[in-house]
């Protein structure tokens, strides 16, 4: 597995491990959890690709996170069944995973 593929795989895995539990706090249950899973599969690789293409610059990362939050919030609102405050859910999930990822990056 080359470095790029590993980056995609690790990023998606970490994102799912972090965001799924956070979505539980916003009443995501049953099929909603599948939605959270699929929405992250949709947004995360694309976000990582843009970061790689732009050299992982901080401002770009912030911009990407904002777009991802809006996109995921829209999906939760449109297709979610019981997710409370879909945009807040998306914001909380993504901020938590971003900050955790940044801290892990520093520590490791």
């Amino acid at each position: 597995m080359n470095e790029l593929t590993l980056k995609f795989a690790l990023s998606l895995t970490l994102t799912l491990l972090l965001e799924l539990p956070v979505s539980l706090l916003f009443r995501a249950r049953g099929k909603d959890l599948l939605l959270v899973f699929l929405v992250n599969v949709l947004t995360n690789p694309a976000a990582v690709l843009v970061c790689v293409l732009t050299g992982d610059r901080l401002l770009v990362q912030i911009g990407i996170e904002a777009v991802v939050i809006l996109a995921e919030g829209w999906y939760y609102r449109t297709y979610g069944n019981g997710i409370r405050h879909p945009y807040r859910c998306a914001a909380a999930c993504n901020l938590f995973s971003y900050i955790t990822g940044a801290v892990l990056g520093i520590l490791l």
Binding site: E3, L38, V39, L42, A46, L49, V52, L53, G55
Partner: protein, 285 residues
Amino acid sequence: MKRRWKCMTVLGAVLIFWASVSFTASADVIWEPSGDFYMENLDECEYDGRDYLTNGKEGFVVVYEKPGDSKEVARIKNGKRFYVGFTYKGRGGVTWAVLNLWGYEPEAEESLEPDVRDGWVVFENLAQVYMEEDFRAEHESGFADYQGELDGYEIKKELIFWDYPGSGRITGRVEEYFSGGDSPVYQDLYTDPDGNRWTYVGYYYGEEGWVCVDDPENGELSLSYGPGAIDRELYPAKKPEGEVMPPKTNAAVMAGTGAAVLLVVVVTALLIAVLFRKNDKNKGE
């Protein structure tokens, strides 16, 4: 007004002095590659400053003029030690390292373009070398203070400087003290597993390294332990021959990756639309 100009002149002088000292200091200390690629990608090159052994899976490494380029400047067998100044992470996910080739004499089976001073290899084809700084990090807590153990020592033939205790690598030899008896400044005292004492010389007229206090002139020390471990499989050296494809160009890799990501996005979006359509319809009602 005059006072303001005076202040600005003084401030400007201080800034110029600071800048000249900073840049001069960095130019003295850090080796930089000579090619255009490095200057054009300065921000993306990361300082490394360590030695590595060539360790290609084919038994040799191919050195290119620049990362991702197909133009070869050298082919070098495995097991050769080089200084890596900087690494560059290509957008295709391949990390490259620039080797300092200055002064390298290729073997008969190897090749090196004339007047080439440095070149780029795939970083994966290098094995990290255990260096003095690693030895120091590992053993520093056990160092004692140098208490003059080698003060007044008279050189009979030559004083041997080693990379680090047990390295097996001689970094310098001094036949007589410079400047009419100016002996090295020794620091730290390390006792190895065999009970030999060693002391470190940070700088002595261009030489640096560890001197064995108990046998300072023996260039063939017999020790029960060896160099520090290289945590990497080392491939045997082979004659550099045959066609070696350079790693895929960044553009080709990124195009392929982009297409794969787009496919994932489209398929997942459709999947969501299909699986959760019921919710969509209910909301419409």
